[in-house]
């Protein structure tokens, strides 16, 4: 098989990312950010900043259109107007000839703040009488709240019937009622957000680290009252996404700065700014109540969650401004009644956004931990509890969907088979094994476009509209086109083109890129065959591919715990994944391994430490991403032969293995030590303290 199409350029450092854009006459923008959590902006003194050599201009909200933007709720100002709502919020921008000059001048921007009481805790924020983060959030375009909701509500979504759930809980032979907490975390992409904008002959040219160029274009048009045809978003490689590169973010500001200065402007944030002021994962508290009968058959699941949404809701794209993972609580299982109640609160902290399977890792950690606690009450093994409850083929799931194929049991068996045998552990350490189960549907919707054109050398140029975020999607496009067209792979040249050259694409995300490319490629192959005398065809799809497909992922973690220190060593993680056909085995395998590594980070390392409205892990020295030596040995077993989405018979892979890992590890730690950790990341000290407590109160088992 031919290598990835982007491999050589990436290995040689030739691939261009947004921040690599260099334009003649380009100047540099640096942001002035709020040092306070919540305040009225009393005024600015820009004199000293403007006097710094090289400064072209210093701008505030007064220089920006009086609009707010966002993916659904439009509540984010381009620059803070009147009020700041979190530490790190953009309050002014300095444009200078060099970045160093702009940074120097930014320090000299004097902002007067009249501080307000901050809203720091999500639960308290939703109580009556709480200080308001936004005066009338229901008035924002796209808002899903009303004046009747608690004032700091971003969204409140429920499913199922609370009364029924409570009744079933009361009648259950065994019941658990536990609360779990998960911290905020950054997506951990290593390319900080960056944008370059330029106005050329009335057209706005944009290069942005954003995976949805067409959405950037349309949102910019809406923000700046322009026609989408006045804006061209150019292709650049995306240096890691994981949910954090579809924000629009600083793009409207950068464009406006280019318009104000008449110069091309680059706005590339530093990593520390990105960590503390962009769009990390929601921190959450999840109360899980689960009941089952005497044999461990689940009767009811109730999840009540409060998520901290930070100062703005605008990074959440779903219609209900919710997070899909919470509504899917319990989805792998047959459960007669499921009730979820999820509230997302405004607080005076960094606005939260999407991260790889939004809310699914948090929810799965809580529910899968609770199921182990329930198994203990029933007196059966955790695996046995799963076996008795995993959905079977033909049964409707908690949402009433009957999957085309349902292979939870097979996936569990595959995981157990692959995990047979002991992992060697250090002498004297306690060992244990834990399981975590997740299932995720493959999206049915596809909206993208593609153009095929004959090239002079006899090859075929395939222009795509979706960016390459690293998943190998362009390589997949080449492979399926070559197959469809019946030509060698090396004669198909896949090129990502600017937004003015192809019809709309939804952008990368939601594990949908391969599905969309598969569908559009099939359409393009057909159009190519019918092209007659033309030497190019453009196809556009906006389809519901109409199959209900899910993928199970079962992970088994083996851990060893040092009883004297609480140190946790993950000895191995086995992932069994329910797959259909695989378009690019190497890239597929990296998606799975990279996902598990991220799941490990969520379980054991990553914590932005947002306390008192401030991000305390403000550098990668403090916010620890898993390193080469941290990532445990990973074994993956594929449950092949599945039926996926037509026409290529595929299933999504990008948001599976990062989800059940924390539950598997927490369950393994509990199996090893009897210590149930209900808060992530699992810290050695937490385990040590619990073991100490056990030693002093019981004389000690260990």
């Amino acid at each position: 098989m031919a290598p990835r199409i982007d491999a050589v350029a990436k290995a040689r450092g030739a691939t261009r990312y947004a921040a690599d854009t260099m334009l003649p006459g380009m100047c540099h923008a640096v942001l002035v950010r709020s040092p306070v959590k919540h305040a009225w902006i009393g005024g600015f003194d820009l004199t000293a900043a403007r006097a710094v050599p090289g400064v072209i201009g210093v701008f505030t909200a007064n220089d920006m259109p009086e609009i707010t933007f966002g993916r659904r709720v439009k509540d984010i100002p381009i620059l803070a107007r009147g009020k700041v709502r979190f530490i790190g919020e953009r309050v002014a921008a300095v444009v200078a000839e060099t970045r160093a000059q702009a940074e120097e001048a930014a320090l000299r921007v004097d902002v007067q703040y009249e501080e307000l009481p901050p809203v720091l805790d999500a639960t308290a924020a939703l109580e009556p009488g709480a200080q308001a983060v936004h005066d009338s959030p229901w008035e924002y375009p796209g808002a899903v709240v009303t004046k009747a909701d608690p004032v700091n509500t971003q969204s409140h979504v429920t499913s199922g019937d609370a009364a029924e759930a409570n009744e079933l809980l009361a009648r259950s032979a065994h019941m658990v009622d536990k609360t779990y907490a998960t911290p905020s975390g950054h997506q951990g992409y290593l390319e900080p957000q960056a944008c370059v904008a330029s106005v050329q002959d009335g057209t706005i040219q944009v290069w942005a680290s954003d995976k949805s160029p067409y959405r950037v274009r349309d949102e910019l048009a809406a923000c700046l009252k322009l026609d989408p045809s006045d804006i061209v978003v150019h292709p650049v490689a995306i240096g890691g996404d994981f949910g954090g590169k579809g924000l629009i973010g600083e793009t409207p500001l950068c464009v406006q700065l280019a318009r104000l200065t008449g110069r091309p402007v680059k706005l590339a944030v530093r990593y520390s700014e990105d960590l503390s002021a962009t769009s990390p994962r929601h921190s959450m508290a999840l109360r899980v109540r689960a009941g089952c009968d005497r044999d461990g058959r689940l009767q009811v699941l109730r999840v009540d969650a409060v998520a901290d949404g930070g100062a703005y809701a605008g990074f959440k794209p779903r219609v209900n401004v919710d997070l899909s993972g919470l509504g899917d609580a319990g989805s792998p299982y047959r459960i007669p009644a499921v009730h979820t109640d999820v509230r997302i609160a405004y607080t005076n902290s960094v606005p939260r956004g999407h991260m790889r399977a939004p809310a699914a890792p948090q929810t799965t950690f809580a529910v899968e931990s609770a199921l182990d606690e329930l198994a203990l009450k029933v007196g059966i093994a955790p695996v046995e509890l799963r076996r008795r409850n995993l959905l079977r083929g033909g049964e409707p799931n908690i949402h009433g969907i009957t999957w085309a194929q349902c292979r939870g049991q097979e996936t569990l068996d595959a995981a157990l088979g692959a995990a047979s045998g002991q992992c060697p552990a250090p002498a004297g350490w306690l060992t244990g094994r834990g399981v975590g189960v997740y299932d995720r549907h493959t999206t049915r919707a596809a909206r993208t476009s593609l153009r095929l054109a004959a090239e002079d050398d006899g090859g075929i140029r395939a222009e795509v509209a979706v960016p390459e975020t690293g998943t190998g999607s362009h390589t997949v496009a080449r492979r399926i086109l070559a197959e469809g067209l019946g030509v060698p792979e090396d004669t198909v040249r896949v090129v990502h083109v600017p937004t003015d050259e192809l019809p709309y694409d939804r952008g990368a995300g939601g594990s949908r890129v391969s599905v969309g490319l598969g569908a559009v490629a099939a359409a393009a192959v057909k159009a190519w065959a019918d092209r007659g005398e033309q030497n190019a065809v453009t196809v556009e799809i906006d389809d519901d591919l109409g199959a209900d497909v899910t993928s199970y992922c079962v992970q088994i973690a083996d851990v060893a715990v040092d009883p004297a220190t609480g140190e946790i060593r993950v000895l191995r993680i086995v992932s069994a994944v329910d797959v259909a056909d695989i378009l690019n085995p190497a890239a597929h395998s990296m998606q799975l391994d990279g996902g598990t590594a991220m799941g490990y980070g969520f379980a054991c390392l990553e914590d932005l430490q947002i306390e008192d409205g401030q991000v305390w892990s403000g550098t990668l020295g403090e916010f620890k991403l898993p390193s080469t030596r941290d990532v445990p040995p990973l074994d993956t077993v594929l449950v092949t032969g599945g039926s996926g989405i037509a026409p290529l018979n595929i299933k999504a892979a990008g948001e599976l293995t990062n989800v059940p890992t924390a539950a598997a590890i927490a369950n393994a730690v509990a199996a090893a030590t009897n210590v149930r950790v209900r808060s992530l990341p699992i810290r050695a000290e937490t385990v040590w303290a619990a073991l100490q407590h056990e030693r002093t109160t019981t004389g000690g088992r260990v």
């Binding site: 290598p3 990835r4 982007d6 491999a7 050589v8 350029a9 990436k10 290995a11 040689r12 450092g13 030739a14 691939t15 261009r16 990312y17 921040a19 690599d20 260099m22 970045r99 160093a100 997506q187 951990g188 992409y189 290593l190 390319e191 900080p192 490689a237 995306i238 240096g239 890691g240 996404d241 994981f242 530093r270 990593y271 520390s272 975020t469 690293g470 998943t471 190998g472 190497a586 890239a587 395998s589 990296m590 799975l592 391994d593 990279g594 996902g595 598990t596 590594a597 991220m598 550098t619 990668l620 020295g621 991403l625 390193s627 080469t628 030596r629 990532v631 990973l634």
Partner: protein, 148 residues
């Protein structure tokens, strides 16, 4: 300040401020293969070789390279084609933002520890973060580069 040094095997002369960092100076010459990630010497995206030793160019004051021999990924790719080949063959990348740093680190490894086994490779690359791959293919690429 005027700086004179070897860059990818050629003598270069340029101006840089006394507190400019090497990563910015290199990128300003058009060599944008070197990436600034964390800016703190943790992530390794900005790895370059100075006098054939890997350094974090985000922490390296530019004046300190006066007279030195500096190699960025662009030059290393010519000098160590087997490393590029190994990353391509093993698909040791996804988004690619960490890749120039990984390639530079592996080039240094071939000089410093040409017989390194896997634990030593992991140890050496421990400070080159990758968020995409889970590292398996990067370690495989490093092995392949050492075997080439």
């Amino acid at each position: 300040m005027k700086l004179t040094f070897h860059l990818n095997g050629r003598m270069i002369e340029l101006e840089a401020g006394p507190t400019a960092f090497l990563v910015d100076v290199l990128r300003s010459t058009g060599l944008t293969g070197t990436k600034e990630g964390c800016g703190m010497g943790v992530c390794g995206a900005c790895t370059v070789l100075v006098d054939d030793r890997p350094v974090s160019s985000c922490l390296y004051l530019a004046p300190c390279v006066d007279g030195a021999d500096v190699w960025t990924v662009e030059g290393l790719a010519e000098r160590f084609p087997q490393v590029v080949d190994a990353f391509v063959a093993e698909e040791g990348m996804q988004c690619g933002i960490c890749t120039p740093g990984q390639v530079a680190a592996v080039c240094a490894l071939t000089l410093e520890k040409p017989a390194a086994a896997e634990p030593e490779i992991r140890e050496y690359l421990n400070g080159n973060l990758c968020r995409c791959t889970g590292y398996q293919t990067i370690v495989a690429a490093a092995k392949a580069a050492l075997d080439a």
